[in-house]
C-alpha cells in the first residue's frame, strides 16, 4: 500500500484567508483525489487531481474555491480559498496506485478550523 503524508495536520485560520494543503506519496501513483469530511459525516469527493492538466471537480466544487495542483506522480496540493466557517472540515488526500488497481488509500487528513 502507498504511504501518504499531509501537511499541515491541522490549522486554525481566519475567515477570508487561504490555506494550501500538501499531499506527498512515497511512490508514484496514477490517481490522486481530494476529499472533504465534515464533522461526524461521510467522505465527499472534491476533485480528482490530474497530472499536467486541470483537476476534475465534482458537482458543488469549483476551481476558484479549491484550486488543485499536481506537478508529478507523487505530489499534489489543495488550496482552500477565501475561507468561511463552513469550510471547517477534515481534508483528505487519497490515492489509487494504478488505473487498473481497485485499492484506494487515504492520508491522515488535515483538520481545518475557520474562525
Amino acid at each position: 500500500s502507498a504511504v501518504i503524508s499531509q501537511k499541515p495536520s491541522r490549522d486554525i485560520c481566519q475567515r477570508g484567508t487561504s490555506l494550501t494543503i500538501q499531499c506527498q506519496v512515497d511512490s508514484q501513483v496514477t490517481m490522486m483525489f481530494w476529499y472533504r469530511q465534515q464533522p461526524g459525516q461521510s467522505l465527499t469527493l472534491i476533485a480528482t487531481a490530474n497530472q499536467g492538466s486541470e483537476a476534475t471537480y465534482e458537482s458543488g466544487f469549483v476551481i476558484d474555491k479549491f484550486p488543485i495542483s499536481r506537478p508529478n506522480l507523487t505530489f499534489s496540493t489543495l488550496t482552500v480559498s477565501n475561507m468561511s466557517p463552513e469550510d471547517s472540515s477534515i481534508y483528505l488526500c487519497s490515492v489509487r496506485p494504478g488505473l487498473s488497481t481497485y485499492e484506494q488509500y487515504f492520508g491522515p487528513g488535515t483538520r481545518l478550523t475557520v474562525t
Binding site: S1, I4, M31, F33, Q41, S42, L43, L45, T48, L92, R96, L99, S100, Y102, E103, Q104, Y105, F106, G107, P108, G109, R111
Partner: protein
C-alpha cells in the same frame, strides 16, 4: 442510483461479541466493495474488500458477506475487541479505470464495551 445505504448509524457491542454492519446499493455496475475503518483524528484505512464473483471473504476476525441478488453486503467482526471501536464506512465503485470513484456509505460508529 449512486447511493450506498449503510446501517446502523451506531452500534454498541460487548467484548467478544459479533458486530454486524450492513450496506445496500442500487447500481448493478458496482464491482468493488471495500470497507474502511477510521479512528478519531486519523484517515480511513482500507480494512477488507470484495469483488462480486465471491459471496464471502474473510481476513482474520473480519468477514465480508456479499449477496449479489439482494444488492447487499455486510461486515462481520468476530470476537469484537475494545480496540475495534471506530467508525466503519462501506463503499462501492465501478469501472472503467480512470473514472473509478468510491461512493461511500454514511458510516457506522462502533463501540465495543470492555
Amino acid at each position: 442510483q449512486q447511493q450506498v445505504k449503510q446501517s446502523p448509524q451506531s452500534l454498541i457491542v460487548q467484548k467478544g461479541g459479533i458486530s454486524i454492519i450492513n450496506c445496500a446499493y442500487e447500481n448493478t455496475a458496482f464491482d468493488y466493495f471495500p470497507w474502511y475503518q477510521q479512528f478519531p483524528g486519523k484517515g480511513p484505512a482500507l480494512l477488507i474488500a470484495i469483488r462480486p464473483d465471491v459471496s464471502e471473504k474473510k481476513e482474520g476476525r473480519f468477514t465480508i458477506s456479499f449477496n449479489k441478488s439482494a444488492k447487499q453486503f455486510s461486515l462481520h467482526i468476530m470476537d469484537s475487541q475494545p480496540g475495534d471501536s471506530a467508525t466503519y464506512f462501506c463503499a462501492a465503485s465501478r469501472s472503467p479505470g480512470s473514472a473509478r470513484q468510491l461512493t461511500f456509505g454514511s458510516g457506522t460508529q462502533l463501540t465495543v464495551l470492555p
